[in-house]
Symmetry: C2
Subunit: 561 residues, 2 copies
């Protein structure tokens, strides 16, 4: 079942309607924001009130009654919907640009109808109809794209837009406990997928920040990475085979652990973001549920010291399940975000410890906070953790204990809610990410930070740029930037677009990838030519032309022309 | 420098001219072959004498003097060669079919000229000339293909064939000791590549059976797997980025540890076997040279027991660097192949141990031999080995000690020589391979074995079909078959082709992949449609048409039309 269909999810922001932070429980936040962003959230002045559906003007759906009848005949009335809530909630993802436009009461590119297929044959028929009538198709998983992956684009060239919500194709089809593989339908969202696997003693091990509101098909289509990717791999490393429906047919890759039978077709579909077809199911690698989830915190004197430590860890014998280091700015931001009162407060004693720490040269204001996660069997985890901490301590890490790690672990899906609250107060807040090899890490880190800071300053506001490393490899790691700045008085979208362009140009110039795990959508698509070159583009266009000759599949994404 | 160019390699068989086994040192072999294959190698009757170049009739090269002059002007006279040795040695690979035809004094599809580029720009010019003149291009690495990957095909449609030998583009361009990556030219062959890396304290960790006579570009083009792939990964898991020249341009993928920027172009080039362009260099993951190479042997009572053990090992906490299990037939064959005299004999004491073993129900004639390899730091290896042996023993493995493992390790590049000797005696001997998931492993094992045995019997000869597992994953493993049979009195090639077809059909019917690491060439190409389906073929054809619009790149491979 789709979250939206049940009406429990916000169409104008992240997650569930009933969840918000009580900012009064975090007394350090307001002074921090006032000082660094120049926005006083205690003044009570809100930039935006939460929009209601009545605020939104939506044009009539473009699809005529005859097509609607055909869709209802094909899928049943319950699986075809044109109501305002569903059209609006399926017309954007969750990027800053999306949330901003929602608050500005703008739905720039409304879908005309949302449909829920129940089986592959439904999708085959939908694509055939769309081809015949020249209707654009947007595949929709959890709708959590932060790069414009699910927003209809360039749809004037089509006679309408059908969004195919995969939410009702969400079953575990087969759990092969011998081979440690599971065949799962693409629409299975994180919690339900894990529930089905956990029942049989397994886990997928893929837990992105969007986990509660994203699904297998979306992860595969966008090459997602979970918080434990350091131990369990990115989604493209977890997949054995996929099944996809394209407008011209069906691709089923072979369920084998490895092959040398020519170019790897699966890696054309994985990452194609619905532009070639719709991934309907996949056979995934699964692993036995770990007994122990051990997350602890460490503090380093600088981001550089933390980075060196991650590199040494990743090039050593024993791999953590998760390892992340925040730079000085993010460590400071997290400190400002910590609970200071309220029913959840467990760590008052830490404040006393903090002053002791500072005497030894470790500070949450000028240091780098690390989370180290180890999952597995009890004895194994103890052994691995011991070896990992030995390296961390050798390289200057101060062990803060399990409390600091578990605090991060428990809150790991919640931070997206804060974004909505800050936006309402008139703060531009967004994230972007890249990856590079170790030799280039600090160079890229500095160059992109400088570009972003420069863009913030040139828009005449105050702001901060924070960064963390959260997906590590022996050869390099990701960089994940968060920026907060005062929202421009007018053209808020232009302010953001200028910063995004500055950051993206800097990423490419410094040798990074335009995206490590968010995907391209349309927001990153302008940098694809830098990523793959002229020949690469020609190859991608040829695939598009071959598998989707009428260009109905998620137009305007990945390839802009 | 190319092996062939130096004249030190056999054009009609495997490896170096000066290497052969003294079969007198292996007294068990002759009776074994007589009993199981029906061929008496002691009779002194040879089916074939080694061919000489004088035996071979070669047509005049088809390229006219003008083109030759252009090539010489482009590359220099030393890098353009039409002599008989080079034309012959570059006209086939090392499949059984190749070795058989060599002995039958047949070069079915001779190349017209062999050229050695020194830099990318040379290749750009060569492809431009070939396009202009409609000349076929065959990229050539070590020439060790066992699937017909380097033999010119369908060349009547072209005005000639240029084989581009990458042997003089073999340098280590950059060793990044911080990121553990190395940028290496495609023509670097195994030993030289390792020498360059070892000097800096690193290794690639890729050691296929062909290692001494194959190169990086060939490994990437054919998705090769080394003997230590269980620990270090297949070649496609070791590559960070590639540079390739196609007839229409250049593709350089980004040097980043991971990316979500759309479909993964690198995985189109890797596995493309020279049909889209020529991989000229790659940035590879490297790792510090291990201190310890620990290989030991174990014996299981059956192949089934050994397989169960590998599965449990691979799904456990600690991974071996290499693990392989021979089935009963291969364990018996290896036993027949063991030294019984001669200067290399070190293991006479083992014979005594053998009879003791049999009393406990373990036999080399009805058991399954396992090699377990662990590489790394000294303490780490000891710890991992202890944990691995615990699982092996629990599942019925009898530990034979390091001697048995090191014997395999030391001889691991030599067995290919034996093939040439047996062929000369009139024995059809070849290998083929696949992979599947664990749930399907024994089913596929039996089905393919039965198909091969049936084909041998229907050709009216005696023979054996042996198998081992040598590349293991948590989700499944490879199956590597070796077959030996009496050569048919006539149409030896047809005898082999019938068996190959029976085996390949059975692999596909039983759910395996047509190749786990040998590649497609033209010998496996007929089964590509089964592997990728109609839509997959359309996608691959579109890539070919786009990157190689005149179809000059390695025609007749992968895609047959």
């Amino acid at each position: 079942m789709s979250d939206y269909q049940e009406g429990k999810s916000r169409w104008w922001g992240w997650g569930d309607f009933d969840q918000d932070f009580d900012l009064n429980e975090r007394a350090r936040l307001a002074p921090y924001l006032k000082k660094n962003i120049g926005v006083d959230i205690l003044s009570g002045k809100m930039r935006f009130a939460a929009p209601t559906l009545d605020d939104i003007e939506l044009p009539e759906p473009r699809l005529d009654a005859e097509i609607l009848r055909q869709l209802e005949g094909m899928l049943g009335k319950d699986n075809v919907c044109q109501d305002k809530f569903n059209r609006v909630s399926h017309s954007t993802g969750k990027s800053y640009r999306d949330l901003l436009r929602n608050r500005l009461r703008r739905i720039d590119n409304p879908v005309d109808v949302v449909v829920w297929p129940h089986e592959e044959e439904d999708i085959v028929k939908l694509l055939a109809l769309a081809e015949e009538k020249q209707i654009a198709i947007v595949p929709f998983g959890g709708g959590s794209s932060v790069v414009g992956g699910v927003e209809p684009r360039g749809t004037d060239a089509y006679d309408g837009v059908i969004t195919i919500d995969l939410g009702r194709m969400n079953q575990l089809l087969q759990l092969d406990a011998t081979s440690h593989t599971a065949t799962i339908q693409a629409g299975a969202q994180g919690p339900y997928l894990e529930e089905m696997l956990n029942e049989k003693g397994f886990t997928l091990g893929h837990f992105p920040e969007s986990w509660r509101h994203s699904c297998l098909g979306g992860w595969l289509a966008s090459r997602a990475a979970g918080r434990q990717s350091t131990g369990y791999g990115k989604i493209e490393e977890m997949v054995i085979s996929v099944k996809a429906i394209t407008p011209t047919g069906r691709i089923v890759t072979r369920k084998v652990p490895a092959s040398a039978a020519g170019p790897k077709l699966m890696d054309i579909l994985v990452g194609s973001e619905g532009t070639l077809g719709i991934i309907t199911e996949a056979t995934m690698k699964v692993r036995p549920l770990p007994d122990v989830f051990d997350y602890s915190g460490l503090l380093f004197k600088s981001f550089g010291a933390g980075i060196s430590c991650v590199r040494e860890v990743m090039q050593g014998e024993v791999r953590p399940t998760a390892i992340r280091v925040s730079d000085e700015a993010e460590t400071g931001l997290a400190q400002a975000w910590r609970l200071t009162s309220g029913k959840h407060l467990k760590h008052k004693a830490e404040d006393i410890a903090l002053s002791l720490l500072e005497k030894r040269g470790y500070s949450f204001n000028q240091g780098a906070f690390m989370v180290l996660g180890v999952e597995g069997g009890k004895a194994e985890v103890a052994e691995r953790k011991k070896k990992l901490l030995k390296i961390c301590r050798k390289l200057g890490g101060f062990y803060l204990g399990a409390g600091a790690g578990m605090q991060w672990y428990e809150g790991r899906y919640d931070n997206a809610y804060l974004r909505d609250q800050l936006i309402n107060y008139g703060i531009m807040v967004d994230t972007l990410e890249t990856a590079t090899t170790w030799d280039n890490y600090l160079h890229l880190y500095g160059a992109v930070q400088k570009a972003m800071q420069g863009s913030i300053e040139s828009s005449g506001v105050k702001g901060i740029v924070a960064c963390h490393l959260s997906h590590a490899y022996p050869y390099g790691a990701s960089l994940y930037y968060t920026f907060l700045a005062g929202m421009a008085a007018k053209d808020e979208e232009g302010q953001w677009a200028a910063l995004k362009k500055a950051a993206s140009d800097a990423i490419i110039a410094a040798g990074g990838t335009i995206t490590h795990h968010h995907g391209l959508g349309y927001e990153h698509a302008p940098w694809l030519p830098d990523e793959v070159g002229r020949e690469g583009l020609r190859a991608l266009r040829a695939l598009k032309q071959t598998l989707d000759p009428h260009g109905i599949m998620n137009p305007g994404k990945i390839l802009l022309d």
